[in-house]
Symmetry: D2
Subunit: 373 residues, 4 copies
């Protein structure tokens, strides 16, 4: 394998394994010639028949039932961790130790200690590291970040981020995973927290209510057995940022009627923007001298990542955000420094973990918690 082609190993063949695998294929055609190029070497998973099928379906040369073997594989330069949350830290640490570039799904780790260890090793290892906060990679979100960062919105005063799903609104529905302890805050809230930092900057202090409104549910696969489900399913939080802005975070998967609605609004002294994941190609922008919000389809050739995709108005779907994320990750492994790091590094993932824990702590104590990384 030359320096020009990275061997990729993916751990996990579930939803995220499928999304990432698809993305590697897509970007090879879309951003042709991809540099460095990628080759799907192997995929790992616990069930032999399932991982064998996944390897065939997703175009991997081979598969493993033990992810350690992926990391040990000299043909693999990139470890992409799509397995369940408890695998993130051990796999990332081992992969970094083996000199691999690492892409890790969110939430980065189950504890702040794990996240810190991952961050520390990543910095030390000097390889490219990313947490898969894919919503950073909607071209419209990148436009929002740039408008916030370059002063177009004036002094940023206020940000509102909300991630609402209704998939668990019904208390009669089983929890969809065996692990019933990690809830909506790490799962969906980590996206919202990451966007808050991406758009506005560092929080100074947070306060939140973290709640479980449906504390018992039928067991998955045994609907007559009702079991405790301790994971949080609804969170609201207030945030004060270092730069003086205030914000709210709201995360729920018990919001009947909502499918996958991640939205934000950033209000500044000179302008504002808002965005909705369910209509992800569009950014609404209020500018100085304007009279309202301009409804912008961020699909022009000069928009971020659009050089790889389709003509104006031929909209991208949800899966393209992961494709853009993986392009940025792959390009970042190259020797050239990048003008702008759009992806979330392990530093970012660690900070999200710190903020997550602070919200949980404030909910227990009834006191706002200052953020210290």
């Amino acid at each position: 394998m030359t320096a020009q082609t990275l061997g990729v190993g993916v751990i996990g063949y579930g939803f995220m394994g499928r999304v990432h695998s698809n993305a590697y294929h897509q970007i090879r055609r879309a951003f042709w010639p991809l540099s460095p190029d990628v080759r799907l070497v192997a995929i790992a998973g616990r069930s032999q028949p399932a991982v064998a099928a996944a390897a065939a379906r997703f175009g991997f040369a081979r598969y493993e039932t033990d992810w350690h073997r992926l990391i040990a594989d000299p043909e693999i330069d990139v470890i992409d961790i799509c397995a369940w949350h408890d695998v993130h830290a051990p796999a990332a640490l081992e992969a970094l130790g083996a000199g691999k570039h690492v892409l890790c799904e969110k939430p980065m780790a189950l504890t702040v200690d794990d996240a810190r260890a991952m961050r520390n090793l990543a910095v030390e290892a000097g390889r490219t590291h990313r947490v898969a906060f894919n919503y950073r990679f909607a071209p419209a979100v990148i436009m929002a970040r740039r408008l916030a960062a370059d002063g177009s919105l004036g002094q940023i005063n206020h940000v509102r981020i909300s991630y609402l799903q209704g998939s668990l609104a019904n208390a009669e529905k089983p929890y969809p995973w065996d692990d019933r302890t990690t809830g909506v805050l790490p799962n969906l809230g980590s996206h919202a927290i990451d966007l808050a930092r991406y758009l506005v900057g560092e929080p100074r202090s947070v306060f939140g209510f973290v709640r479980n409104v449906h504390p018992v549910r039928p067991l998955r696969g045994e609907p007559r057995r009702v079991v405790p489900t301790t994971a949080d399913d609804l969170v609201v939080a207030s945030i004060e940022f270092e730069n003086g802005a205030l914000g709210t975070l709201e995360v729920s998967w018990v919001a009947a009627g909502r499918k996958n609605q991640l939205t934000f609004e950033v209000n500044g002294s000179a302008g504002s923007v808002y965005w909705d994941l369910e209509d992800l190609n569009r950014l609404h922008v209020s500018r100085p001298g304007g009279r309202g919000f301009e409804n912008i389809l961020v699909t022009e050739p000069a928009d971020p990542f659009l050089e790889g995709w389709w003509p104006p108005g031929h909209i991208l779907g949800w899966e393209h955000l992961h494709a853009n994320l993986i392009v940025e990750f792959i390009r970042a492994t190259g020797s050239e420094p990048m003008a702008e790091t759009l992806g979330a590094t392990f530093e970012d993932g660690y900070r999200v973990a710190v903020i997550t824990e602070a919200i949980e702590a404030s909910s227990r104590s009834g006191r706002s918690v200052d953020i210290a990384y």
Copy 2:
């Protein structure tokens, strides 16, 4: 004056005096025959030429420059307080003492003590008392309340209320009132707090950040003189309700690009609703068995207050909410008990004041504050 026609005296001829006066005229035609009927007896204000002009313009039989004379007037049965905030408590107390029905603009009082005294006297006096929380009176908002109350949305989990204006986003703009101490929380936030209780019920505990992002501004009328403006202009808060629901409140008049955008969303275990004041005739409703939000123009003849207005799709404007509010107030003075009290009583106004103060206290202390009325 017979029991059938109430004499009305309005204190204040500014924006709200104009809105209320207009409403009394409108409802006499719209809800014909209004019962009890109303007669605009007198309007009070400090400036003689201005109040004289207002009396002529708004169709009052006479005017006063001293509001105490309005209250003393035996032809006046209803005192409607539209003057600046510091007049609310003394005028309401005096009017209740004189046996008048009282409608008072928001915020009901500058302090919780004043609000409590007003509430206590109102209960004792046995007259009809209302605080002018006009957003309760959008037919779409009434529909939302009924859907939340009758179980159509299931267990209420989550409410998001946001009131955003951009009128003071620019720090070069003077504060529009001489009184630079009462800020966005009492002025706009009181509406949001009232809607939270109206839609979801009583808060158990609150936490907020109350901030002033533009602490100095040019003086009104003397733009070269820059003066401190201590009033809050941006507030975010988290709420936990007695029934277990969580919520956020956001209030700003420094949100560039926003005009008068009061919005709410209520998410339940079975359904959800959302609403936007700038498109106030519409309620978006998700119901069990549905697949998305139904976009409902609440303008059918059977919808609340629509018997007085126009055919389906012939939308109401902002001013009609005050008209509906005043109809309810006037009808409530009648001897018949009403099936449903839609208007905010002084009890409601007092509770909004308590919650307002709790948010301010939490912002100072960094601790959540329990609500006790």
Copy 3:
């Protein structure tokens, strides 16, 4: 009666009589001091008890059961015709002959010949004449017209106007009027045709399909009796304008789900606008150099007619369009020439009648019809 106060007589106390009467009251307060001022002298209608009640309700000094007496009344300077369509021509002709200013509801007349006679006499009489095309008077529509007229949109290429209601979608519903011969084209389509001319200019040629999709309906008041209903209930038309633009018109009251949705879009070589009556305060504007449509609430103090109404974002309702229309009409009776005639004159009403008839003729012949006034 001095020149400063116009005596007003309204013919008809139905829906439109109520809307117009309400507007005269509203504008006296909103546009204070109104100049010339108005006084509601008398209202006419066939049923004595009904017109007596209407006079009381709507604040007229007296009433008549014979509209000729209104026209003969020397205290009346303005005749406002809100009666059924067949009264429009005779009342307008008689009123103009008597030297009155005349405001006439749409459709102006039942035939082109009547409309032409009305136009001719109006020009000759030298009094102010208007047809109540109220949708011209949404501030957002005026903004659209100005952008189209002043070149902001470049060369106008295309206009799409659609007026859809669902009130008669159900064939089991009786026709709401005794007169079952004038259908959706004169009733709703006249608004759409008027807007086409207002926004784009004169049509050169038209082609349309004019259809009745529910040719029998239960009789009003006798639901078991099914009777022929010959009025058109659905019309589509293609238009070519003198300036080379093309357009479509669509009018229906058999569009289930639609309440009162009048929309237009004007596309030019440099910019475009669109508007929806059900959200009437808003204009969506695409401009050169922009990237999308700006969502503008046309509610700023400097916007047309807003000097009389409420602060930014405090939206107007449907009834305010008639109020604006009547202000313009009343002001136009003054001796000063106006900078811009926003209202539809009898010339405009006549031209709408010509175009209406041309669409009907094209539907019968299968040929496009050139417009000749």
Copy 4:
């Protein structure tokens, strides 16, 4: 090559060649195991370096500079025609003659005669034939078709279809193709016409205005040379359907501000639907007994083609419509008859050509033209 895997040859490597090639790869993973499966055998194009690069990029085993060789290739079972319009008819006829299944981009042919010949040979050949009307394959559009077809909307009265782009609004912009004779009606209008038939049924008669509003433009590549551009750039048409419904079609690429906005609305006596390509996952549905349009994200597992894609609310992009189209085409080549033919056959393509020509004829003659296939 077994019956289980179809060899695919694609003619043309431009925009559509890229879209189709991408789709074959996507569907192999998304609809795994695809049956029959596909293998990308060869791609054809005139320029050797370009087609060689395309073959590498898009994953074809080989390439050809002469498309006849693709058709002659025994390893190829499917000919997919993405070349310029003038190649459609000869390539399709030759491919059908050689016993291939054929997918042909739109417009199917440059003349009705060519389209008829293609249709006739396709029927005779007994192979699977499709025209790439991809907008049929938005899951939301399929839902609309089913609601219209199964009576949920009652009697269909009215359809409005509009396809607006602004790419050529500016007259200073060169025409983007060397062929300056086929304009917006065949290019974009064919989609709109196809949807009209798909949603409502067969037209009885049409009338249209077909115009070129910018008859001269700079030459592509030689911006100082201004040349005649005779292709139509703006079309409006009125349609009457066999079932009594009326409709409008509007097609433009001179609509400043519009990117790729294909929209339709179907109004029935009992319900209505509307859709917008720029928000393509959503269908707005009014149903009997409802009060407004339900805003449905058509992204549930049971929705059409969603078995291959992502969870609810994880939206599809524009490219997925071609993927769905090609899945249907590939599956249709199998021996099992399909429950529902969603794709457009050559019969459909031919009928679109007939209607296109009828609109052009009506524009020349000023008479409506009856449709006869």
